[in-house]
């Protein structure tokens, strides 16, 4: 399988009143064609920022460094118009809250059709017919009758189906799904995930799924990347992450999942706080909370192959040690 998306040493910083905030730091990863890649991490760890950086949708205060290649084309440095042509056509996005990601003054059908006419030079009637097909495809009952409905007349689950239909309108190579189920209740969540999996199977779309919910990851992802405070700390097939997590943060995250045996009301937490990204700790950003912290952690641990498909960025790992320190110590945050 070839890679649809390759990120190399991607940094995203925001200029704020409190100084430069490093939201994403040195992230390298690749997503293969047709896979569902999960990106997991707690709120504010940079998952969404990373997705927005790919789409060229970050505000003007943000600056992106590093390389983002999509289907072999370098995206950093493309003009605004070139990026616009990619958005909604080759790369599309599903947002978290379907209650707010549809325009309340437009009918759902028009919003799907707009995605098509923004990229294809076709007449309204054909766009409309295609939109109807899409609504049908994502499981909107009676799409013909629903086409002219305002979004508020649909339930949350149905709205998210409409959002998915807009994302699929031009058969993109990559769909970025940013917490697509977080705002939905559990039964609807499962339906939407089934729909995504089903669409991947039929259309062979690559999906990058961003979530903080390990349950969602377990349910539909092939591989998963774990982010903490802007750094990518571990990448592995989904079964491996759950069976043998290697990074201390991943281990802590998994052990924080409530189990049935646990006494009600007692939740395990990771002690400490997420570092302030305007002034992150040098080296590994988890070092301030890590139970295994040691001197080496003041240098940024490189993400290295522990096995063929399991990557980890932690000085406890032999792979990271082998990947070497000296050159990274120079570029990393060693102060």
């Amino acid at each position: 399988m070839s890679d649809v998306l390759t990120l190399e040493h991607v940094d995203v910083t925001f200029a704020t009143d409190a100084g430069r905030v490093s939201a994403v730091s040195d992230v390298s990863l690749s997503v293969a064609e047709g896979e569902i890649f999960g990106l997991v991490g707690e709120s504010g760890c940079g998952k969404t920022t990373l997705a927005m950086a790919l789409m060229g949708l970050l505000p003007a205060t943000a600056s992106v460094a590093g390389s983002v290649r999509f289907q072999g084309v370098e995206l950093t440095g493309l003009s605004a118009e070139e990026l616009r042509k990619l958005r909604g056509d080759r790369i599309s996005m599903i947002f978290q809250d379907p209650m707010t990601s549809l325009d309340p003054t437009f009918s759902i059908g028009e919003q799907v059709a707009e995605t098509i006419t923004a990229h294809r030079d076709i007449d309204k009637e054909r766009a409309r017919r295609r939109a109807l097909e899409l609504l049908e495809e994502v499981g909107i009952p009676e799409p013909r009758r629903r086409f002219g409905d305002a979004p508020h007349r649909l339930s949350g689950g149905m709205r998210q189906r409409v959002v998915i239909a807009t994302a699929l309108a031009n058969e993109p190579a990559l769909v970025l799904a940013d917490e697509p189920t977080t705002a939905l209740d559990v039964t609807i969540q499962s339906q939407v995930l089934d729909l995504l999996r089903d669409l991947r199977a039929r259309l062979h779309t690559t999906i990058a799924l961003i979530t903080h919910d390990l349950g969602v990851i377990a349910q539909i992802c092939d591989r998963v990347g774990v982010m903490y405070a802007g750094q990518l700390v571990e990448v592995a097939p989904v079964s491996e992450i759950f069976r043998s997590p290697r990074h201390p943060y991943t281990q802590a995250l998994l052990s924080a999942l409530p189990t049935q045996q646990q006494a009600p009301g007692s939740l395990r937490v990771i002690p400490g706080r997420v570092p302030n990204l305007a002034d992150p700790p040098p080296g590994c950003r988890f070092s301030t909370r890590c139970p295994y912290v040691m001197d080496e952690c003041a240098d940024v641990p490189p993400l290295a192959h522990e096995t063929d498909d399991h990557l980890i960025a932690c000085w406890l790992s032999e792979a990271t040690k082998r990947a070497g320190r000296p050159d990274h110590a120079a570029t990393g945050g060693a102060v």
């Binding site: 789409m55 949708l57 003007a60 616009r84 042509k85 990619l86 958005r87 909604g88 056509d89 599309s92 996005m93 947002f95 978290q96 809250d97 209650m99 707010t100 990601s101 549809l102 325009d103 309340p104 003054t105 437009f106 707009e114 995605t115 923004a118 990229h119 305002a150 979004p151 508020h152 959002v163 807009t166 309108a169």
Partner: protein, 289 residues
Amino acid sequence: MSVAVATSGGVPRTVWRRGILASRKGRWGFGILTALALVAIFAPLLAPHDPNAIDPSRILSPPDLAHPFGSDALGRDVLSRVIFAYRVSLGVAVGSTLLAFLVGVPLGLYAGYHGGWVDTAIMRPIDMVLALPAMLLAVALIAIIGPGSNISALAIAVIYMPILARVVRSSTLVVVSQTYIEAARARGTRSRAIIARHVLPNAIGPAIVQATILMGFALQIEAALSFLGLGAQPPTSSLGVMLADGRDVLTQAPWVEVFPGLAIAITVLAFNFFGDGLRARLDPKGVTE
């Protein structure tokens, strides 16, 4: 929650039935304005006499059946004069506000959508205009260009444009931060289409409310300018001109003064009622003041 989102913007057709006309104020405002608009449109048919016909035998004669509003110092029929003056005044009020709306709304929309230096470049000059006292600005403009009802309409538009631009800009800022705008961008919709199709319909509500209320005040400003002799010029009459004429005979023949005054008061009131009815519907969160 979803209901609030769905109703906070745009002017769907149901707004009329369910919103404006549902409130008593809205109904009154709409009813009076419709009636007054008809009066203005059909003035030549409705006026019982020639508004400029001088009748020396009827100088300052009190209201009677043939002349329900009485006659003025030249024996002209006050009712007919009010009807024709009203036509001029309403025309200036509506025309000036529309002009301000057509210029101010795109400016505010553009400034709010793009932000940054575009915003500064558009809004700072507008703020400067806003900082000048309205009446002074109008008088200064008329002093430069010369009096007349068209010029006073232009002067009022210059006063109003910054207000409407600011209102639209602030509601645009709210709309632009909504996810559906980001979603439209993520769909690859062009900026121009996003502004026209997604931002405008969601941000225009408060500006419509504001414009409605401003129309009422425009009528007052026009009257004030005309009263000072800076608005409509003879033989054209406006309500302000009539007020100025009536002032001299206020104690002997109050009807010359009272009826044009009443016309102004009722119209301003009706615009305010209508604006309030609109606001209840379009602007539930009270974005406008």
